[in-house]
Amino acid sequence: MSILAYNGAAVIAMKGKECVAIAADRRFGIQAQTVNTDFQKIFEMGPRVYIGLPGLATDVQTVAQRLQFKLNLYELRENRRIKPKTFMSMVSNLLYERRFGPYFVEPVIAGLDPKTNEPFVASMDLIGCPMVTNDFVVSGTCSEQMYGMCESLWEPDMEPDDLFETISQALLNALDRDAVSGWGAVVYVIEKDKVTRKELKTRMD
């Protein structure tokens, strides 16, 4: 089995009208066995910058911790919050430093610019190749299924409530066709004045 499919995961991020949403499943499993159903894969890296980390569970936690460390130093030096685009470059650099022995995570970044509140989504591969899109990004063991769902359901300039529904349906139906992701899901909707975190009721199989 591929190392990226050892623990199983699914993450989506979508752009809306002056908002972004990021969602992930909650399963922590070891190949076919499910060990836990409350594993965190989305991390807050600033009040309006979130990163979703699907892939090998140990690297999910290590990369999140290392990024938090680098981010803390950045904020101390610069005395301001980081922009999502700059954060993307920070992640890319961290991953490429391990070009020939990489972290087995393929991150997804979602956020709003701290000054202009412009929505931003991006994803990258395990060695740090960044990809910025204007609609949505997906990553995980059921990425093909998520691409299909997102292509069908996404439309531009969705309000936060609509965006929540769309990203939830896209994630849930993709999860139901993957044996190693699922067992719960969480969605963050990020707007300029608030962030809402919702847990979805999913099939637990």
């Binding site: 591929s2 499919a5 199983g8 909650r26 499993g29 190949q31 076919a32 066995q33 499910t34 836990n36 159903t37 409350d38 990258m124 591969d125 395990l126 060695i127 190749c129 990809m131 063991t141 059921c142 093909e144 299924q145 139901d176 066709r177 993957d178 044996a179 190693v180 719960g184 847990e199 099939r203 637990m204 199989d205």
Partner: protein, 230 residues
């Protein structure tokens, strides 16, 4: 990994660029369960077929008829178990025509066993044979991977069964009624679905008695619930 692919396909592209779900065999990862009671048997299974990690069928029927009074529960390779069940169905039909009476469950079990044992190197099949006949009543026979056959009052199989040994050993009581057996199996399959990635979907149940076969399906909220973190 993100790669820049050029227009032509190189002769090596088929080796590493093909996703798992195009090349992997269909497996019924599975949880299957069968139990004898006075008057017949109750059998149950989940409904997931996977190709690698992709769920190829989420409403699979793994409870397959081999005669009017004998069913088998299939786990392992979907292709292998379907082929074996078809061949056994043929043999038992032939027997019925020759002898003018229903074959015994033991016979069905042994036909399965012969195939699973003699072709053991080429097959991946774990099968539970369960049914009713007028000589011995309800019987359950377990034929795991190597092709041995054992009869026991209850049997479990498939990748999900590993999570059930504790449950069945502590909860099984002899001489349960048909309703208690149905509950027992529904609980067992649900518990395994919760833990095993290769099992999922709906719970299919069936009872086989002298009056024939009755099938049930448990979907969504009908599936028994147990402790969950969230």
């Amino acid at each position: 990994m993100a790669t820049m692919t050029s227009g032509f396909s190189s002769m090596y592209s088929s080796d590493f660029a093909r996703p798992d779900w195009l090349t992997a065999e269909h497996e019924t990862g599975t949880t299957i369960c069968a139990i004898e009671f006075d008057g017949g048997v109750v059998i149950g299974a989940d409904s997931r077929t996977t190709t690698g990690a992709y769920i190829a069928n989420r409403v699979t029927d793994k409870l397959t008829k081999v005669t009017d009074y004998i069913y088998c529960c299939r786990s392992g390779s979907a292709a292998d178990t379907q082929a074996i069940a078809d061949i056994v169905n043929y043999h038992l039909n032939f027997y019925k025509m020759e002898h003018g009476e229903e074959p015994l469950v033991k016979m069905a079990g042994h036909v399965f066993k012969d195939m699973c044992y003699n072709y053991r190197d080429s097959l991946t099949a774990g099968i539970l044979v369960a049914g009713w006949d007028k000589r011995e009543g309800g019987q359950v026979y377990n034929i795991p991977l190597g092709g041995m056959i054992t009869r026991s009052p209850f049997s479990i199989g498939g990748s999900g069964s590993t999570y059930l040994y504790g449950y069945v050993d502590s909860n099984y009581r002899p001489n349960m009624s048909k309703e208690e057996c149905l509950k027992f199996i529904a609980n067992a399959v649900s518990l395994a679905i919760n833990r095993d990635g290769s099992s999922g979907g709906i719970v299919r149940l069936a009872t086989i008695t002298k009056d024939g076969v009755e099938r049930f399906t448990l979907t969504g909220d009908q599936i028994p619930k147990f402790y969950e973190d969230s």
